[in-house]
Structure formats: structure tokens, C-alpha cells
């Protein structure tokens, strides 16, 4: 359980290009509707971040974790960032964190639990791109296995770009690693499904 009314940590994991930033934006929009205050942390590898520039152009204030990948060189920085947010923002409802798409999700947990969260407190949503099933099977087995194992839910994105069979195959891949894991199938360019919104912010909307 989250202690002392700490903000809930929502972690958006998934490989490069899976739709994490789109998911983050949709979550911010939804939180805004319910007048929830969010802190946004983005870790992007590369000299210049595209996502944080986009966020700023949309009017959002973003905490950048620059200089490397958050699962290795930036782990301490993530911990400092979360602690800083907790110490200086009593009224935060959510900390939304988008790590880099090449980060090892397991390595992020230590920084978050060091800030007083239990692993079970972390709302880890794995975003899966079904157009790249073959790529995952060939090149990203470890990432996929680790990500699904840690995730609370799987969002299968881009369902408008693949057949129903391919979408089902993606869900089955996730279930084969973590039996019973809930998969939400959607196109994140559209609205979040109401079922998923209930799962994500159910306590607030009910």
C-alpha cells in the first residue's frame, strides 16, 4: 500500500516506438478532466529529447532525466527526482514516468522503492506494439519477458494497423509469460477505452 498519501506512480514501459508518449499524453488529459495533479518525468536517450520538447510546446512542464539511460547511469537521478517531488509537492496525485524505450524496467524499480514505495504500488503499464511481434520474438525476448512480468496491465496499441488474429497473438504472448494478466486492446491515437480508464484511475472515477 502507498503510505502517507503519496502520489501514485504510473510507469509506462515498452520498447521504442510502442506508444508510450501518446499513452502519457492521454493519461495527462484524463487526469486533467478529473482535476488530478500530475508530475511528469521523462527519460529519453539522445542529445536532445523530442518528447519533452513536444510536451513543453503543448504547455506542460516536464522534469527531464538527461545524460543517459535511466536504468543505468541515471538511476540515482531518478531517485533524487522522485524524492524532490515528494518533498516539495504535498498535493500531487500522480507521478507519471516514461522511461526510455531501451531501459531495463527491472532496474527502475530499485530507484522507486528507495523512495518508500513497495513494488506492488507501482502501476506499471506495458505498451506492446503488435506490428512488431516478429521483432520482439527475434530481438527483444529479454525485454519482453521482464516487462510483462513486472507489468500490472498490458496495452496492445495500434490495433487498427494489424488483424484481429495478430492482436490476439500479442495478448497470448503476454499471457504466456504472466498468465491472467489483463490486456487492453486499443489504438492510442483515439481515446482511451472506458474500461482501461477505470483500471487506471478507477478509485477516482468511481
Amino acid at each position: 500500500m502507498i503510505k502517507n498519501n503519496r502520489p501514485e506512480v504510473i510507469l509506462f514501459t515498452g520498447f521504442l516506438g510502442s506508444g508510450k508518449t501518446t499513452m502519457l499524453l492521454k493519461t495527462i488529459e484524463m487526469a486533467s478532466v478529473y482535476q488530478k495533479k500530475c508530475a511528469i518525468i521523462i527519460n529519453e536517450i539522445g542529445e536532445v529529447g523530442i518528447d519533452n520538447r513536444q510536451m513543453r510546446m503543448l504547455g506542460y512542464d516536464v522534469l527531464d532525466l538527461f545524460g543517459g539511460c535511466v536504468c543505468c547511469t541515471m538511476k540515482v537521478t531518478l531517485e533524487a527526482t522522485i524524492n524532490h517531488l515528494l518533498e516539495n509537492n504535498d498535493d500531487l496525485d500522480y507521478i507519471l514516468f516514461e522511461p526510455s524505450g531501451v531501459a531495463d524496467p527491472l532496474a527502475l524499480y530499485e530507484a522507486i522503492t528507495n523512495c518508500g514505495y513497495a513494488e506492488s504500488d507501482i502501476q506499471n503499464i506495458f505498451i506492446f506494439d503488435p506490428t512488431r511481434i516478429d521483432f520482439y520474438q527475434k530481438h527483444l525476448k529479454t525485454l519482453f519477458w521482464d516487462s510483462v512480468n513486472l507489468a500490472k496491465y498490458v496495452v496492445i496499441n495500434k490495433i487498427d494497423e494489424v488483424s484481429k488474429e495478430r492482436t490476439e497473438e500479442a495478448a497470448e504472448m503476454a499471457a504466456s509469460i504472466k498468465p491472467g494478466i489483463k490486456s487492453f486492446k486499443m489504438n492510442l491515437n483515439n481515446e482511451l477505452t472506458s474500461e482501461f480508464s477505470q483500471y487506471l484511475m478507477g478509485k477516482e472515477v468511481s
Binding site: C69, C72, V102, H139, T142
Partner: protein, 158 residues
């Protein structure tokens, strides 16, 4: 995890036209450039595209964002712009591809830009090299305090 494999390469590109063009025209033009760039990269089977994304900045609040994950899928683009006609765009490209050098990646992009210039519309495209792209720090600590995030001592305006 895969940060050693998909090394990021960043390009800053300045696009200008003699006459103002519609945002839709710019959107298509940049799409053509990125399509050619992605197709050239994909000719080498050893090169795996992790993600190629670009932010074409029209002004402080208006942009077109592009995203591409391979040569088979279309290049996603999202326009967030209220302006109609413009003659200048600054673009940042973040290219995460395995088994390609920065130099080779740059050559592919230069070739793609050249093709776009020759296609007409009196477009001038320049890949800005050797220029440090500055990042605005927004670390939210009090003035004269050591920043808890970067561990440095800087002012908000830095």
C-alpha cells in the same frame, strides 16, 4: 538494456522556402524526406530501426511530430498547428538505429534532403552540424540551492 545497441543520433535540420507553403505541404515534404532516409537505412539488413522520430517546430507552440519504426509501416505524423502558411521550419530528428555510424546516417539524411530540394518547390534544406543544441533546464529547485536532480549549482535561468 539495449542502449548499447540502439545508439541515438540527433540531427538539427533547417528547412526554408522562398514562398510560404501550407503546413500540409510541409508535412508531406518532410514525410518524403524521412521516407527516403528510412528506406536507405533499411537497405542494410544489419541495421535495425528502433525508432526514428522528428519534431518539426513551426514556432514555440506549433509543431508536426513524426514517428517511424521500420520501412514497412507508414510514417506517423501528427500536426499540432494553427498556422496556415509558413516559410521556415526547424526540425530535430532523433534516430535510434543499430549497426549504423553517425556519419553514415548523416549521409543518408543529406541524400534525402538533396532529393527533396531537387523535387521543386524552391526549398532549401540545411543539416546543421557542429552546433550544440541547447536544452532548457527546468529543475524546479530554489535559487542558490544545489539542484537535487543534476547535482549542480545553477540558477533557474541556466
Amino acid at each position: 538494456m539495449y542502449q548499447e545497441e540502439f545508439l541515438p543520433v540527433v540531427f538539427k535540420v533547417e528547412l526554408r522556402s522562398e514562398q510560404c507553403l501550407s503546413v500540409e505541404k510541409w508535412q508531406k515534404l518532410i514525410n518524403t524526406i524521412l521516407r527516403s532516409y528510412v528506406d536507405d537505412i533499411s537497405k542494410n539488413e544489419e541495421c535495425l530501426i528502433g525508432h526514428i522520430k522528428a519534431l518539426a517546430e513551426i514556432d514555440k507552440a506549433n509543431f508536426i511530430k513524426y514517428s517511424c519504426i521500420n520501412d514497412l509501416n507508414h510514417i506517423n505524423s501528427e500536426v499540432h498547428c494553427k498556422q496556415n502558411n509558413i516559410n521556415k521550419i526547424n526540425m530535430i530528428i532523433n534516430s535510434l538505429v543499430s549497426n549504423i555510424s553517425e556519419n553514415e546516417s548523416c549521409q543518408f539524411l543529406e541524400k534525402s534532403c538533396l532529393l527533396a530540394e531537387k523535387a521543386g518547390d524552391q526549398i532549401n534544406i540545411e543539416i546543421v552540424k557542429n552546433e550544440k543544441i541547447t536544452i532548457k533546464k527546468t529543475h524546479h529547485h530554489k535559487e542558490n540551492e544545489v539542484c537535487p536532480i543534476c547535482g549542480e549549482h545553477h540558477l533557474h535561468k541556466d
